[in-house]
Symmetry: C2
């Protein structure tokens, strides 16, 4: 061992001890004849001192040290004269008797500080240096701690972690697969799993009762912001359970994580909200309930007063923004432009200012009397000083826009503190979504999601209105406006499954082709089962108080799916291509 | 929840309780008017009884049950009249009041028993049914337990589990990579990692100090028996350590696994054996030390007596087989044929029988007097009744053949009890291997393995004989004749690394091309570091007392790299190929 202690370990109680530390030189500074060295490792920073009276050789070595040099240093722990209360080792320093330079270092291309001077691209290229910074170290330590707590909790509940294969089979449904050419089976390909869904259901058929896995998944999607081609799931499945059992088990898991990792107590039981309420009140199936500002339907209050825009639509809805009545014309114009951007897609924005003096000012003053506006405000629970923002159009679309606007106003008003946690379950999702274009139903989750038992009658109805009302035994875990996980009770009865295919317009032959393998497995005694999966990268980021996952992944890829540190993907040798029976039809960059 | 208890839970103390169980019908039998049902789940088997006096409907349902039906059964726990001491629930049975058939089952194509009547291929195709059998369930439970204990131990030692990417870059060295075509980067490929070696060393450069990961690795090799294209490693790396620290840490890990999982105490400290001793005494770098039968060099004892076969070789070696002097001529002929098979490759076998009466009988009687044979026997520590088996040729080759013969004799004599565990470390490997054909040195492990500090002088010598003597700071963990893990202290100094490339005949340009990325990273302050990796599949198998890993992997592939259950790899759509800018040059099966 090159050290007796870590750089985060020594305290005033150690004064007088001879110790050896090893680590990286964070910085050096000269003060009079003395040289101070901040030595850093994963565990902390300890101040080293080379005294004016030290041996010439030692002083020379100390003066030669550059940033990020790796050294081993021996000396005596002494109490500091000027203590540093900001770091746990701040009461002491090491009076050095020797320095052994283990490795010199080139000057890093950016500073290794909590806030670095390096740009994103540069830091990505030198990820191994960026990872030296405290925020990234803490992110990965948090990730380790969360994974460990997940495993302890699930192990304690009788779950087995079972590894499922990564070289599997390409499926014709769902997102795009990454594929892996097989050399031993010319012309054939494996696929990397988008999730272990099939395998975890097979493990239930096999009687494993409670399965989990912290597992990598792969999706060859065009990358939107903050998506990774490979990501990690906490994947779980249980047998002989109903929805209540699954919610109970994983609510307990999340409660344990919050308690053990963040020392935060979340409500017991967690709030639950139906998908319908979430859409109606928050315009989102992943509502951020850290703040109110609920959406109110005011269609009945505003129609029939001669304002043709409102009169001609299915739905008029509004949010009331606390204390924003003082927004200027310019601010409201800017908001109007904001909602008209294609990302939101509103046609316009109506406002109603409920001024502090109790008077009203709105963009539709000529259609509504102050009394009518007050009736709307009262209905919404607004008070003087609030600003009411109104959108209209078709119901769900408008609600969604209001939901986006609500989040934006929450951000602007500072209502979304990332260290305030408001988790909840969203339940009672519709089982089916009607698509006007193709004039058929699609499964909102996937075709193996079970309808609620109490809705089976509706499920067997031939009427579209009935089928639209069928709720699924599906659930999402939502935290602060982000969906962290979701799952469902699966259909385990052949007859119900057959009905599902029928409703989705999938013929027996098609079902056999697309899902035959799993349907066959189910014929040998499938238990009732259900489960869910959490997006682990996102769990880590949110627990860390961040919105983006990239800092919570040791070696992430950029938005083009590239690892710029190792420069991957890359071209491979023709010989390798030949062995795989492959030819490329792509033009090379240099052609 | 479909049950109040599991099928492994109820005891005599529960008598009188009303319970509901759920599971699979293992078997039913009728006895008089009663029907007995063995209900199985992951936790055990519980006997259910439908009485003669039960309701007609219940009796009818009970009689209709087939093997592997999934049922929910309610009734009262009663003490059994004839108890079954073989199972933990054997004192009780459930007097049923109701059965709910949750799912019927087709008759499985083989029996779900500890020893099934199904062939390997059939069971592989229905892996989800094979996994219902106790031996496989126990194997996967053991695997879960081992992984969990590994994580607890390493977490307790300050290791962080850090996930490294699966989509990385193809490297020109080492075994063949599986590659993944990139759609977003036409013509370019990712590679699946053969191990996270580069990334774990980067994590050390990044200051993470103690890293581990239970991680999938991929190798596109022609599959020998009991190899899998994807396999799992316990991968570890530590900074500021010397070899002793690594051995100490992971010896502790294995001791904890043996103690907590198998309740077995292994020696403290573990035996260590130099690579040279292992080769000389066991003819193997992974010696099985559960039994003696060491190899003895007898070159000096047998040369110069006129037997030209011995006189003309570099080395004559022998093993003494306890109590095998009674082997018949036929048995010895068979052994001779056995060593002459190409898998062993000996030219012939000389035997010396040390008969129980003290007389000698050998295949080389005409060259050696009984006294000379006795001198050999005495030298080897043989006693009357033993059989001495002699091979000759070049030193290492002959030792290796004797090593294979020794293992075979150990098997024949029943000396290799899989539930007897004899772990040890192999240390002091040669750093370099000379290759006569290419007239150059190769790295025995990899070019980043550090020479022992005390051999640095030899390492800088220009003489081949000196370089051959340089030992590496490398180590293997060996259990019962199998290498379970291995690793090394890495070179962290640029100068030593440069010397290594020089010795291996790798030019600066070549080194830059092949290893440039990691060499550059090391320039920014690499700490001294080292680590190792265990083959987790094999750890599981050996802990389970098995030699083959296949039963310890939930969904393994066969020797052609195929998953016969999901029928993968398979052909993909032309559309998918087009998107990936790929054309296949393989002929399809049906072309």
């Amino acid at each position: 061992m090159y050290r007796t202690h870590t750089c985060g370990e020594l305290r005033i109680e150690n004064a007088g001890q001879t110790v050896t530390l090893a680590g990286w030189v964070q910085r050096t500074r000269k003060l009079g004849g003395m040289t101070f060295i901040d030595l850093r490792d994963r565990y902390g920073i300890t101040q080293l001192v080379v005294d004016d009276s030290a041996a010439a050789e030692l002083k020379e070595t100390a003066d030669s040290l550059g940033r990020e040099y790796v050294i081993q240093a021996t000396g005596t722990v002494v109490e500091r004269q000027s203590k540093n209360p900001k770091i746990p080792t701040g009461d002491i320093e090491i009076g050095l008797t020797g320095i052994n330079v283990l490795n010199k270092a080139q000057t890093p291309p950016f500073t290794i500080e909590d806030v670095s001077d390096g740009g994103e691209e540069l830091r990505a290229r030198y990820r191994y240096l960026d990872l030296r910074r405290n925020p990234l170290r803490k992110a990965l330590e948090l990730r380790h701690r969360l994974a460990h707590e997940v495993r302890n909790y699930l192990d304690g509940k009788g779950f087995l972690e079972i590894e499922t294969p990564y070289l599997i089979k390409s499926t014709p449904e769902g997102a795009r697969d990454f594929v892996v050419p097989s050399r031993m089976n010319p012309g054939q390909f494996y696929a990397l799993p988008q999730s272990p869904q099939t395998f975890k259901q097979l493990l239930m058929v096999a009687g494993y009762d409670r399965y989990f896995q912290i597992v990598r998944c792969f999706r060859d999607e065009d990358l939107r912001a903050d998506r990774q081609p490979e990501f990690t799931q906490i994947d779980c499945e249980m047998s002989f359970v109903e929805q209540e059992d699954v919610l109970d088990t994983f609510e307990g898991m999340m409660r344990t994580l919050f308690r053990n990792v963040l020392n935060v107590e979340i409500p017991d039981p967690l709030p639950r909200m139906s998908w319908y309420d979430a859409m109606d009140n928050y315009g989102s199936d992943k509502p951020d309930i850290r703040f109110g500002m609920k959406i109110h339907e005011i269609t009945g209050k505003v129609q029939g007063k001669g304002f043709s825009v409102f009169d001609s639509v299915e739905y008029v809805g509004a949010i009331s923004v606390d204390g924003a009545a003082e927004y200027t014309r310019k601010q409201i114009d800017e908001l109007t432009e904001w909602v008209k951007r294609p990302q939101v897609g509103a046609k316009g924005l109506v406002y109603i200012k409920y001024n502090a003096d109790g008077s009203f000012k709105s963009s539709v003053d000529k259609f509504y009397t102050p009394e009518e506006l007050k009736a709307v405000a009262d209905y919404m629970g607004s008070k003087p000083g609030d600003l009411i923002l109104v959108l209209c159009g078709s119901r769900r679309k408008t609600q969604t826009m209001l939901g986006v606007l609500r989040i934006e106003m929450g951000n602007r008003l500072g209502l979304r503190d990332p260290h305030n946690f408001a988790p909840l379950w969203i339940v009672d999702f519709p089982l089916l979504e009607w698509d006007d274009e193709t004039q058929r139903f699609y499964a909102m989750h996937h075709p193996f999601t079970a309808p609620k038992p109490e809705h089976l009658d509706l499920f067997y109805s031939d009427r579209k209105e009935d089928l639209e009302k069928v709720c699924a035994n599906a659930y999402d875990f939502v935290l602060n406006g982000t969906e962290l996980g979701g799952g469902s009770i699966r259909i385990h009865e052949a007859e119900v499954q057959q009905r599902m295919f029928e409703v989705l317009g999938i013929s027996r032959e098609d079902a056999e082709y697309k899902f035959g393998f799993i349907i066959n497995a189910f014929k040998f005694g499938a238990p009732p089962h259900g489960g869910l999966a959490f997006g682990f990268d996102r769990v880590c980021a949110l627990f860390g108080g961040q919105e983006t996952i990239r800092d919570y992944i040791a070696f992430p890829k950029n938005n083009q799916g590239r690892d710029v540190m190792i420069d991957s993907p890359s071209y491979i040798d023709q010989e390798q291509m030949d062995e795989l029976f492959l030819a490329s039809t792509a033009k090379k960059d240099n052609e």
